[in-house]
Symmetry: C2
Subunit: 380 residues, 2 copies
């Protein structure tokens, strides 16, 4: 019997009340009861996203909501700037290209963040760009982007679309104050709900653009979702149990307070970084995000074998690398239900398996360093 | 306290083991355990769909899978025949038009079925049509179509695409034997799983067409789903708990046997029809389906008030009408977990509320007639 510890940056552990909500018998969704639940969920999401904009609930993975953002904002032949430095930013480009959009591709090496002044320059060079597609927390590298600064650079020049799928609900994100026109969020990350729902927050400026173009979309036609908001409901049958579970998870987040959730993640991220660096390991991200940490394996370690052993020995499930980082890095989440002792035990598991793999490691060094960060934050 | 009785043609009641599966803690999906579950689910769906074709699992409502079928098969400017006689058949046309497909619209009045010889004539007039879009059980009218005969008319001339969202798993449907090239199915109907998953069964001929065109799709690009089948997994994060629940529901269906499930539905449908006709009510469908029955309200009844009262008094949730039938009909499901006594109690509830609404009704007449059908079938 191995105790399971899900430490991946999505899916994340689902809290007990949300699991219980999932197992309630399905009731019909075209009812006053379900409409009340939808209204509560929309209110909760507005609080977490820090927005007064319309929120649309899609039954799909996060990728479906990314596609919805692309095809509803930029017509075939239209121009879009994609800030690309990781697997999920690449997805923005792949979707846009699939729909015949002219992509201005701004690449920086994986692990590096974008600079707002570069974005400003791109917009000067491409004043006809409809939108800038960015990423809050790039899950493939653990980079956290300065969306606030990028928002200032984009304001008044184009629409700002942000993939907040894994970042929102764990990293500070102020949709309205930072000028995010379309925010895309997934249920199965910091919102502690099983996968199957995705959300878009759409600004009035984005709606104006959406109304002005025709789109190759039916299931992802956002105008149908806006129309259904007046009830509130969804145009097509939503995943009823997932909406119920989300309502419970949002209650937990609001009870803690979104600012407190962000602060907790900041502390866990800091403890994790200090801990892995004390083990002599190197971070992937030059500007680390707060919902997860990506770390290079020491030279000579077989990444897949390491992660398999960690999972088999201690039930600790971490994510490996993707694309060019496959086999070279591991990724630890600190979003959702996780607390200080989850981070400590994960670090301890990593130390023990590194030792097993013959690495010259001082057992306890990473754990001790992380504990000191936790103690310091407790004092503040 | 009112006992809830969900008698709508989707969502349907979810069996206890499936509800319990939903509430198990979420585990990661890129694991051998989840792949084994996916393999089991694909095997179960093949049995229910009666096919050896590839089966693709989408995290979306059934409408998403309909869109996937349209955009992957018919290019912009290509021609498709849509057999249209209800709200869901209309959706085929709406999706096709949205994507710039030339639609040959074959309409018959709502409540009437299509004739295979008409389909054959349409194909003679339009030999360049890529596909014929049909519906197994038209949920808005309760018509069941003769897909076997239509399949013979279409064979070798075009691809046959069938919306089996609400019909498959309750009405006889032999995908391979009847020549269905793309079958679309939803989780939340006869498959007794909460909404949020949809399925496509794709024939080799359909794959050939899919490979030959480019498509305005990313999330719904079926080639990505086919590629992931080799693992088996899905290209984007699937709704993990829904897959677990589906596995349980499929186990129940396979334990009963798909032929036995069809026979049970045939009997429940027959008892329902005889029961409502014994109350003096009139059926909507000229060729009734076996997963549901649509019935006209008597003249002078306020449909919404009637359904609200039935739900409030006895917890019996029926569906009302859609489009031109709104307020004029009610719809009873007999798919999924429902048995003889569920049908009897629903008919009794309808009788009692009709009497309350001042209708000249002989209490027990409908129930007695339905009971006789049940007793007869038991003898056979």
């Amino acid at each position: 019997m191995v105790k399971q510890r899900l430490m991946t940056p999505g899916p994340t552990e689902v809290p007990e009340p949300s699991l219980q909500a999932l197992s309630r018998q399905v009731a019909h969704h075209r009812t006053p009861e379900f409409r009340r639940l939808m209204a509560e969920v929309l209110e909760g999401l507005k609080c977490v996203f820090q927005t007064a904009n319309d929120i649309l609930v899609l039954t799909s993975s996060g990728t479906g909501a990314m596609e919805a953002a692309v095809v509803n904002l930029v017509p075939r032949g239209g121009k879009a700037i994609v800030l690309e430095s990781g697997k999920f930013a690449e997805r923005w480009r792949e979707i846009a290209e699939r729909f015949g959009i002219q992509v201005v591709r701004h690449q920086v090496p994986w692990g590096q963040p974008f600079q707002a002044d570069e974005v400003a320059r791109l917009l000067e060079d491409h004043p006809d760009a409809v939108a800038v597609f960015a990423t809050l927390q790039e899950t493939s590298t653990g980079v956290g982007h300065d969306i606030q600064a990028i928002g200032r650079a984009v304001a008044g020049k184009a629409l700002l679309v942000v993939d907040g799928i894994s970042g929102v609900g764990v990293m500070e994100c102020r949709t309205d104050a930072w000028g995010i026109d379309v925010l895309v969020v997934g249920a199965q990350k910091a919102l502690m709900t099983p996968p199957g729902l995705a959300f878009l927050a759409v600004s009035p400026a984005a709606w104006k653009q959406i109304e002005s173009i025709s789109r190759p979309a039916f299931y992802f036609d956002l105008l149908a979702y806006r129309k259904a908001l007046s009830v509130p409901e969804t145009p097509y049958t939503p995943s009823i149990p997932l909406v119920k579970a989300l309502a419970e998870s949002l209650r937990l987040i609001r009870a803690e307070g979104i600012e407190a959730v962000w602060a907790r993640a900041r502390m866990l991220a800091s403890a994790t970084r200090v801990g892995v660096e004390a083990m002599g390991l190197r971070l992937v991200a030059q500007r680390p995000a707060e919902g997860m940490t990506a770390v290079y394996f020491p030279e000579g370690i077989d990444g897949k074998a390491f992660l398999d052993r960690l999972h088999q020995r201690f039930g600790v499930k971490l994510a490996g690398g993707q694309g060019p980082l496959k086999g070279r890095i591991f990724r630890i989440a600190h979003m959702g239900l996780l607390d200080e002792l989850d981070i400590i035990s994960t670090l301890a598991g990593i130390e023990l398996v590194l030792a097993e793999f013959g690495q010259p490691i001082t057992l306890g060094a990473g754990v001790a360093a992380a504990s000191r960060v936790i103690a310091e934050t407790g004092k503040a």
